[in-house]
């Protein structure tokens, strides 16, 4: 588990997930490599919609329904953070 420590930016995104979904868990506890949906953090497509809205509010990035990378973007906290920092630049 070499990569399982959160970077600072991943911590920030993790906190956004916890607050926007009212998750009731410590943001530090989210494994950046674990899948966000179903088996991992147990989020579903409605949660994903909330996350997409929170991201657009905080970072001004619009995640669109026809984005071919949607499957990759929401794969894990790490993938999500990477997408946001790449698109924000």
């Amino acid at each position: 588990m070499v990569n399982s420590r959160q970077t600072d930016f991943e911590r920030e995104i993790a906190q956004l997930l916890v607050s926007s979904l009212n998750l009731g868990l410590d943001a530090c506890a989210i494994d950046p490599e674990a899948p966000l949906f179903r088996e991992g953090l147990g989020l579903d497509s409605i949660d994903m919609l909330e996350i997409a809205l929170a991201i657009s509010q905080h970072y001004g990035i619009q995640l669109r329904s026809d984005d071919p990378e949607n499957g990759v973007i929401f794969a894990s906290l790490r993938a999500l953070a990477a997408t946001i920092s790449a698109r924000r630049a």
Binding site: N22, L23, G24, S45, L49, L53, R64, S65, N70
Partner: protein
């Protein structure tokens, strides 16, 4: 053994549905309505579970055991609304007329470019409700549906109208909900059902016709995430007066757009309560429009193995259907998520 029987039955009813569709379009509504009597009688006799579920409903509604005549009339109403779906979808000259109530409040949101979420139920006609899209030029409607349920009936009916087929958003993929959100942002109408619990779904409890019933939490969460005003909607079927039956399209405000996440729990609690109360009021107004033919008050998960055994896997709609449960339900406190 059971598997073989199910498959046979699925083929059988598919053939019957296609036959009804063909006869309905060729012979017209008057003839088709006469043919509904023997068809309904067959299903009425063959599907005991549906009768038991309906009895429970009528006992909750007015405390009395319903007569066989009343139960049969209920089946007949269901059959008639299914038949009318054929005419509505095919834009046939025999398509029934409808009256509209309460659309002004919806329109005032649409005027500002704000889309509206219509929370419906298995009450009255789904297809007549779709007619809401014709209420003003350029208005579009999308229906969020669990396409795994009543797959067969929908396939056969939707073949009549490619546009209606396109307006159905299958529940599931994350991208599909983003699309719904964009659709609402462009001032569209989005319909979804809020009464039936499907396998594995989280539920909430609400008082409904004098006892506690379980409702799916997903539609409330989705309504909250979509941040759109929520209306109850239904299209009630009314028996013929002077030979002409009609549908009544009803829109009732439930809640304004959801507040931010901290106040979300209270908002969903109110929405759930108002939804159940409104549903109850319309059940009392048109009792035979209730199309959940199973014991609605039975705790999800209770007796699941037995119910699974009697369920028709091909079609979750109509008197042959059982609530599709698998016993893995959780009742969630609306206040917090607690996913840890």
């Amino acid at each position: 053994m059971a598997q073989v029987w199910f498959e046979k039955r699925e083929r059988g009813s598919r053939w019957a549905l296609r036959a009804v569709r063909a006869v309905a379009l060729r012979a017209g509504r008057r003839t088709a309505r006469v043919l509904l009597w023997p068809i309904t009688a067959y299903f009425f006799l063959a599907l005991r579970e549906g009768r038991i579920g309906l009895r429970r409903y009528y006992q909750a509604l007015d405390g009395q055991r319903p007569t066989l005549g009343r139960l049969f009339g209920h089946y007949l109403t269901f059959a008639r609304t299914v038949l009318d779906r054929v005419y509505l979808l095919a834009s046939h000259r025999d398509a029934p007329r409808y009256e509209i109530r309460g659309f002004e409040a919806v329109a005032s949101y649409l005027d500002c470019g704000q889309g509206v979420l219509l929370l419906g139920a298995h009450l009255g006609s789904f297809e007549a409700a779709r007619a809401a899209a014709f209420l003003r030029p350029g208005l579009k409607i999308q229906i969020i549906m669990n396409t795994k349920v009543s797959r067969q009936l929908n396939e056969i009916l939707m073949a009549l109208n490619p546009e209606a087929r396109e307006s159905v958003v299958p529940l599931g993929g994350p991208a599909s909900l983003l699309r719904v959100r964009e659709f609402l942002a462009h001032g569209g109408l989005v319909g979804l059902m809020g009464d039936r619990v499907v396998a594995g779904e989280t539920t909430y409890s609400a008082d409904f016709l004098g006892a506690t019933a379980s409702f799916p939490l997903g539609p409330l969460r989705l309504a909250a995430a979509l941040r759109a005003p929520v209306f109850f909607f239904t299209a009630l079927y009314h028996a013929p007066v002077d030979g002409a039956c009609r549908y009544e399209l009803l829109f009732e405000p439930l809640c304004g757009p959801a507040p931010d996440v901290r106040a979300r729990g209270e908002w969903m609690r109110q929405l759930g309560e108002r939804y159940a109360q409104t549903l109850e009021r319309f059940c009392r107004l048109a009792p035979d429009n209730w199309f959940n033919f199973y014991d609605f008050w039975q705790a999800p998960g209770a007796d699941a193995s037995c119910r699974r055994a009697t369920r028709d896997p091909g079609d979750g709609d109509g008197p042959g259907s059982e609530r599709p449960v698998d016993g893995s339900h959780a009742t969630e406190d609306l206040g917090g998520r607690g996913k840890s």
